[in-house]
Amino acid sequence: MFTVGAVGVVIRRNPVVVFMCIELMLNAVNLTFLTFARYQLVNPTGTDIAAQRSAMAGQMMVIFVMAVAAAEVAVGLGIIMTIFRARHEVDVDDLNLLRG
């Protein structure tokens, strides 16, 4: 999923779609976090405190990522909307004002 998202960011020109691919990547990361967190607790010879804590840490991480993603989407879409009020075209390639 991460790979697909990354490729999508590079390939697609529609900024909204690019954004969605970014979300895709973030979710892939979330999944990874949770998976590893969960499987810290697999070991049946007794879950020690460290494993417990790292498991919880994984979940925390996911929560934060979600929150960040939400905020980012809000702001990002706001930006996109602002840009597209100015010009009615939608093309990432045209957004080269940061050229140096």
Partner: protein, 168 residues
């Protein structure tokens, strides 16, 4: 060993990957968005299988309920049509991007998959994924990041309002 859990996971994973490819591949933005929604649902179910119940629900509510709705609103508002893929001249970046992506997948996968093979046991846990556990950890150990996140959300809100304020 083929267990029911494995089969379930396989189906879910396949659907999820297909959905993500669909996000990238569809010309139309709306179709991409809908694929993404599907992807998020699949992910939520996956979270449930990982005993992270709270996070699964949160995924549905936050991601699909709020974020994707936002996306769809924006797409509809801006009337973003289909991209003209074919207009692009043969862009080397696509090829390179694809190649890089494949490479990335191979590299990361080669490290992860062997590790994941050994995860076969699913044992019952305590209150691992419950809201109580999460809440407990969140407000004790991770309270500072929590505050930071709230500030971040505040900034996000303010920013959105600012951005949306002109004209409209």
């Amino acid at each position: 060993m083929i267990t029911p859990e494995f089969v379930l996971f396989g189906i879910l994973a396949a659907v999820g990957v297909a959905a993500s490819v669909g996000v990238v591949a569809f010309n139309s933005a709306i179709r991409s968005a809908l694929c993404l929604v599907l992807n998020f649902f699949v992910l939520a179910v996956l979270y449930f299988t990982l005993n992270a119940q709270f996070l699964g629900i949160t995924q549905v509510v936050v991601y699909t309920g709020a974020i994707m709705v936002l996306f769809l609103f924006v797409i509809m508002l801006l009337n973003i049509g289909a991209e003209h893929f074919l207009n692009e001249k043969f862009d080397y970046k696509r090829i390179v991007g694809l190649a890089a992506g494949v490479l990335l997948f191979l590299m990361v996968g080669s490290q992860l998959l062997p590790a994941l093979q050994s995860f076969n046991h699913v044992s019952a846990l305590g209150d691992y994924g419950t809201p109580q556990a999460i809440g407990h950890t969140l407000f004790t150990e991770y309270v500072i990041p929590f505050e930071c996140i709230s500030v971040l959300l505040l900034v996000g809100v303010v920013g959105s309002i600012l951005l949306a304020k002109r004209k409209m």
